[in-house]
Structures are given as C-alpha cells and as structure tokens.
C-alpha cells in the first residue's frame, strides 16, 4: 500500500471503503461465509433439527464410504458427467465452427441453439418427460414409425433412465458451450489460415493444426465449467425421475437434498456436500495440472 501524505485523507479513504463494503459484507458473512464454516461443523454431527446436534467426529464420512447407495450415487454422477460433457462439447464445437462461417440465417440458428440454455430446467424437463413417455411419447412414436418394434421404456427402465437424462442435458447445454467456442474462434488470427492455405494445407489440416491448438484455451475453459456444473446435476433428476427407477438416476445433489430435507439427516447430508466439493476441487485441480500437456496459451 502506498504511503499517504495526509493522515486525514487516509482516514477518510478507509472510512469510505468500509462504508462501501458494509452492505455486501454483512450479507456475505451471514449467508455465505459463516454458513460455510457451519456446514463443516454440522458435517461432524448427527442432527435431525429436533434434538440437539450430537458430535460424531468423522462418523458421517465413514458411513458415507461404506454406504453402497452412496457408491451408486457417485457412479451415477460420474457416468452423467462422462456422458454429458464430451458429447455436449463435441456438438458445440461442430456447431460453433459452422456458425463461425457467414451462413444464411445465422441469427436464427444461434437463437435455436441457445434457447434451451435460457429456458428453466423445470419447464423443459417436463416436456422431455413427455417426450420420453413409453406409451405416447414423441420419441417412441418416432421409433415406431421408423420400424423399431420394441423401443426402450426410457425413464422407466434402470438401463435407459440415466441415458435419457444425459440426452436432455446435452440438448440443454450445447448452446452455452457453443457461445464460448464462438467467442474463442474470434481470437484465431485469420492470417494463420491464409498462410496455411498458401502452403497447401487442406481444410482438415487447417482444423487439426490451427483451429484446435488455437482454441485449446477456450476448450479448457469449457471443459472445466462443464465438469463443475455437471457434477451438480439436480433439477432433471428430481423432475424427470425422482432419482429412480431403483436409484438409477440418483445423483449426489439429489441424494443430499433427500437426506437433508426429507430425512432431516443434516449432518450426513452436509458431509456429502463436502465430499462433492472435494471431488469437484480435485477434478478441477487435476485438469489444471494436466492442461500444460494440451493447452496452448500463445
């Protein structure tokens, strides 16, 4: 901090600073900062909100790692992330590359891809539930029409329920990544393509040797954000399947919700929320760690 020649002015600045800060700081302390600390403390207790919390140390965490249901919940969430993120990113990149050209109807296309992003998940999850309906849904009607005799009972079968939610989520998220990719593509210098063309590089070579490396910083960003968001999937699971059938679509956040607000196991649910944080943190850290191998920041 620089030396302030006038003590009175300096005092005035400090006073003003706290004045500006205070409204936000109070709210931040009450609704974010202390709750974070409280959540940590609660996770070491057994608390149903009726009786006083009972200290159990690491008991909740120990229970978590021996609970086969939590194992399945972790697996479901991991499968969801692995299914949604790469697919969504690949489609978004393809669309962004196409829309980066000057094509007719650009505004229409951009709006079409982006509409699912702004729509409320609850509202669109309802229509997807109807689309996936076994007897009368749009999807199975279409499958009958093209001659599939025995279409899956999408949301009603343990085999297809998670896939259905992945399909819906990919549909919903493509537009968001597309916008990020489009912004990234603007940063690729046109001269590189011109030079490559002169050297006789075809479209594939230009894509592999110019676009992909120049876009790697954006790709990294889209990946990190996509993974973080996907680990927190909840709305779809509640609206479309209530975590079922037989927990096939039970995700970490859905499980937290159920334990905290339906079974009132506050300590257990808090412990789970911290495990979710730890997973997201480690996965993100690993991505940052290994980005040097493929991300190009020139």
């Amino acid at each position: 901090m620089a030396f302030h020649p006038n003590v009175r002015l300096r005092r005035r600045e400090i006073g003003a600073a706290y004045g500006f800060l205070l409204p936000n700081l109070i709210g931040f302390a009450v609704f974010t900062f202390f709750p974070v600390l409280a959540a940590l403390a609660i996770s070491f207790t057994d608390w149903d909100l009726l009786q006083a919390p009972r200290w159990v140390g690491l008991g909740n965490y120990r229970t978590l790692f021996t609970d086969p249901l939590f194992g399945q919940v972790l697996k479901n969430t991991a499968l969801y992330v692995l299914g949604t993120v790469p697919l969504q990113m690949a489609l978004a990149l393809g669309v962004a590359l196409a829309l980066n050209q000057r094509i007719p109807g650009q505004l229409f296309f951009r709006t079409a891809y982006f509409m699912p992003v702004v729509a409320s998940t609850v509202a669109v999850a309802l229509v997807w539930r109807w689309i996936f309906n076994y007897d009368f849904g749009l999807l199975n009607s279409f499958l009958y029409m093209i001659g599939v005799q025995d279409p899956p009972n999408w949301l009603g079968s343990t085999r297809w329920a998670l896939t259905s939610i992945i399909i819906m989520s990919v549909w919903q998220q493509v537009g968001y990544s597309m916008v990020l990719f489009l912004a990234g593509l603007q940063g690729v210098p046109q001269q590189l393509y011109e030079a490559a063309e002169i050297d006789g590089a075809g479209p594939t070579a230009r894509f592999v040797f110019i676009t992909l490396p120049m876009l790697s910083a954006t790709t990294f960003f889209v990946l990190v954000i996509g993974v973080i968001n996907s680990f927190q999937v909840f709305d779809q699971a509640l609206i479309m399947t209530q975590g079922g059938p037989a927990n096939a679509t039970n995700t970490i956040v859905f499980h937290i919700y159920r334990n905290a607000f339906q079974f009132f196991k506050m300590g257990y649910a808090s412990a789970m929320a911290w495990v979710l944080f730890a997973i997201i943190f480690v996965v993100t850290l690993l991505q940052f760690r290994y980005q040097r191998r493929w991300v190009n920041y020139d």
């Binding site: 600073a17 094509i103 968001y176």
Partner: protein, 293 residues
Amino acid sequence: MTEPDDTRGGGVHELKSEKTRYTLTNWLLALFLIPTALVMLLPFIWMVSTSFKLAGAVFEYPPTWIPRPLVWQNYPQVVEILPFARFFFNSLFVALSVTALQLLTCSLAAYAFARLRFPGRDALFLGYLGTLMIPGQVVIIPNFILLRTLGWIDTYQALILPAAFSAFGTFLLRQYFLTIPRELEDAAVVDGASYWQIYLRVILPLSGPALSALAIFTFLGQWNSFLYPLVVTNSAQMSTLTVGLNTLQGQYNTAWTLLMAGSVIALVPVLLVFVFAQRYFIKGIAMTGFGGR
C-alpha cells in the same frame, strides 16, 4: 440474414458491405444445420402444441403437431387450478429484488475492492474468492437452519436475502472496474468530488456492459432457480413458478396439456428477455463465462 455479428471482434468481415453474398458452401452448410436446429426447437414446439390440445388428444398415434381442435382452455384452467398468478408474481418479485440488491451491494463493494485502500483488503477479497469454489449445496443446509431459526421459512426474506449479496457479482464487477482508466476519475478528484460521487458519476456510468451482464444472468438464474425455493418455501402462497410447476406434476400426473400450458407460461418471460437482449447475453457469456448450469 445480414445483421452484424456481435461475437465477432471485428476484422475482415466488417470491411465488407452489409449485403454479403453467400457462397454455395455456406448455403450447403446452412442446409445441413437446419435439421439439427429443428431438433433443438422441437421440444419447445411440442410443448406449445400440446398446451393447445384437448386432454384426450395427447395420446394420439401418430402424434399431431397442429392440434385439432385447437383449444385455449388449458391456460385459464392451469391458472385456476393452482394460484398461478401468485407463482408468477412471486418469481418476478424475487428475481427483480435479488437483481436490484445484487447490483447495488456488489457494485458498492466492488468499488471499494477496486479503487480504495484499506487494511485487510486483500485478505477479505481472498475470502470472497475462496467461497466461489464451494458449491451452493454446501451452504444450503446451514442457510436453511438459519432461516428456520429466524422463523423466515416461507417468507420473501428467505427467498431474497441469501441470494442478494453474491461474491461472484462482487468479483465480476471488481474485475471490470479495474479496467476503467484512472485518468477518468482524476478530473473529478481535482474538483473535490467525494468517493460516493466518483462511484455514482464516473464508475457506474462507464460500467454498463458489466452491470447489464450481471443483471441479466442474476434475473435468469433466479427465475429458473429450483432447489433453493423448493427448500425454503412450503406453502403454495410462497411458491415460485418452478416449484409450483413441480407441484402440478405431482398432483396431476397425466394432465400433460395442463403441465405444458404451465411450462409455456414459465418460459415466455425469459424467452422474451432473451430475444430482446440477445446481444447482451452472448457478450455477457463470452465476457464472464457466466450463465452455465
């Protein structure tokens, strides 16, 4: 369409005249994109189509896209069955209040972090940043307990206040304020302006893009928020649209026409905002990476 493209940072294309001639490849590309764009729009079309059908007509095979007969009754009916007007008002009131409060408190704090020197500034800012990494599900449990202790469950305070002081908003605005050249403030300082006047007359007027991005995404996030209102409300009177819609699903499980009419009602405001503020959305996302879920 020859509208200038907002995500383009300038360059080659802008030198060309407004009337661009498309090459054959570009027409083919557009042709190729049409089916995929239709797939994106199909659920919306299906939603609207179903909302205008008679309850019995939804189980037709093959599915019909244009309802025959086309009926309006699902809309008045869904408004009647549930206090839909109340849900709508709750969503709107909460989303607008949170947005206004965030713009105010975050911009004030951001100004202090960006421009004023005070003891503990860097440590405090680090504290703000640190909480950004912690998923919302971690704090929702202690917040629920806090609101319950205060007797605020099922009130507007519970829906509004916890979201009104976002660390993210503060961070976003601080980063933007830092890019404003200090020289612009110097003249005001020489004139003896107070910090408050500088914030009000210099910083805020120059921060339109950042403030509008924060406003749009906060509004949208609140309008679409589900888990949080689900947890802190329990009466129909205090439900927001998202929670109300989910209730409708539980009560009338197969009333697809009503469900779809309700969904359309929930979507119209955000889609309108989106269509009119499209440039801000896309710029905002490109600028902040915000808006994902």
